[in-house]
Amino acid sequence: MPGTSATKAVSSTDPPPVAEELLTESRKHPGRWAGAGAVLLVAVFLIDSFAGAQIDWGVVRHYLGAGFLIEGLGMTLMLTLVAMVLGIVLGVLIAVMRLSKNPITSGVAWFYVWVFRGTPVYLQLLMWFNLALIFPMVSIPGIYSARTVDVMTPFVAAALGLGINQGAYTSEVVRAGILSVDEGQVEAAYAIGMGRLRTMYRVVLPQAMRVIVPPIGNETIGMLKTTSLASAVGVTEILLEAQHAYYVNNRIMELLIVCAIWYLAAVSVLSVAQFYLERHFAKGSSRPLPPTPLQRLRAAAGRKPVLR
């Protein structure tokens, strides 16, 4: 096949000379189907093993509808919500303090993270609940005064303990998020006359959310499970309810499996929420958004060109 010769102006009139007989095909993946088969086999085997195990699935079914476990789940969700809100508020505050140029501010923030991330949350819960060991009374002088044990109810202690502990972890996540925002954004905000604070919450934080949301999702799901520690101070969340039941009837695995099913349900709802939250904050970002399941369905239904 000899080269083409000298200058030529190609005609630009449609249609182009499409050589349809040379359509490409993307690579075949026979391994995929083998893989799918293997995975399916393993799954069937596992399901069969579980079904045949010394686990009484009738009991599982029975407790799945039990009102007291659902109430416990309600308490779990409530506590998760309160603790996460507190944790995020504190986390943002501490992260901003950590990044301050003022050595005292950043020192205080550093100390907070060190102490609360460094000690077991179980101890922190007990500390809050038993604050009366240290401060028997709480009072705002002249206005209000009460016995600490009356103020520090199980729920208050659990929410404070979990939330303040979470704040330490969240602050690290938020700090990484803030650092991920291009310095130029801050300068642009300053240049149109924004102060530090407004720059933070109008420009930096909304962009940091892209990096912040996924780990916070992780942490929320973690919190859902961590709330079970609150049973130490007498909050009757789902796991404690289950324990009360299995201390009596000894159906340990069955009741734990029921809890697992409820947790899985809650985690699934949270994951969906996270997915849409991530999409929301990805608005305007350079990486294209993954399609929502709905969009995927629609795409699968419609006709599309051949490409991969």
Partner: protein, 266 residues
Amino acid sequence: GTGGAASGSSSKNGLPAAVAQSGTLRVGMSPDFPPMEYVDEKTKNVVGVDVELVNALAKQLGVKVQIIQQSFDQLLNSVQTGRVDLVMSGLSDTAERQKTVDFVDYFGSQGRFYTLQSKAAKYTQPSAACGRTLAVSKKTDYYQQAVDFDKKYCSGAGKAAIKMLPTDSGSAARLQLEQGRAELAIQGAENLTYFEKQDPGKYEPVLSPLKSTPFGIVTKKGDSKMSGAVLKAMNALVKNGTYKRILTKNGMKYAIITPALNGRKG
């Protein structure tokens, strides 16, 4: 709300003023210990032998009972901080624990070795336990007793040591027995009675009972008014037969003792 914590003026039953005034006795319990205290699945109330006893006690004192559920780890702190007036949750009186709280002993608990009925025949004398795996809840006094038992009959006597398998509850210990990870377990005699009701013929106590340890009602260290009133009322229950009736009814005759303040010595 509370008035002054001044425990000066005493009332007819000898209770501290704050309790007498409120007319309610707040009792801390960790309902993870059937049949002494556990949550009834239907009513969601805490029930059990301790509950029956404390109700009788309160009646004697002329006050109502409010049961406050807490985890085991939290119970003693709650006495300390005044969140509850006393704790009655199958807690063993030990000399070590007397350093921080006071006990009014009311129940002579016995630890028992037990195993699956099918294997019970093997255990005829203490040395039969040597070299076996023993599941025992770490939250109970039995853990220490098992260690002492091992010292006395096994590792201390030149035999194979008992392999300890600590668990976080009596029921978890039982699960290990069922799976065959453990060959023996220890549980209070009161629990074994309860298991027998649940799964008749499945388990069997073996060997002789461990040393009897009293359960005590926990009051704040040095609050002699409270412990005195409780001891007085317990003695009254013994005298009028209520105490014996409750324990006998539950098949725990073995546990009857004479109530005493900090009765365990050494």
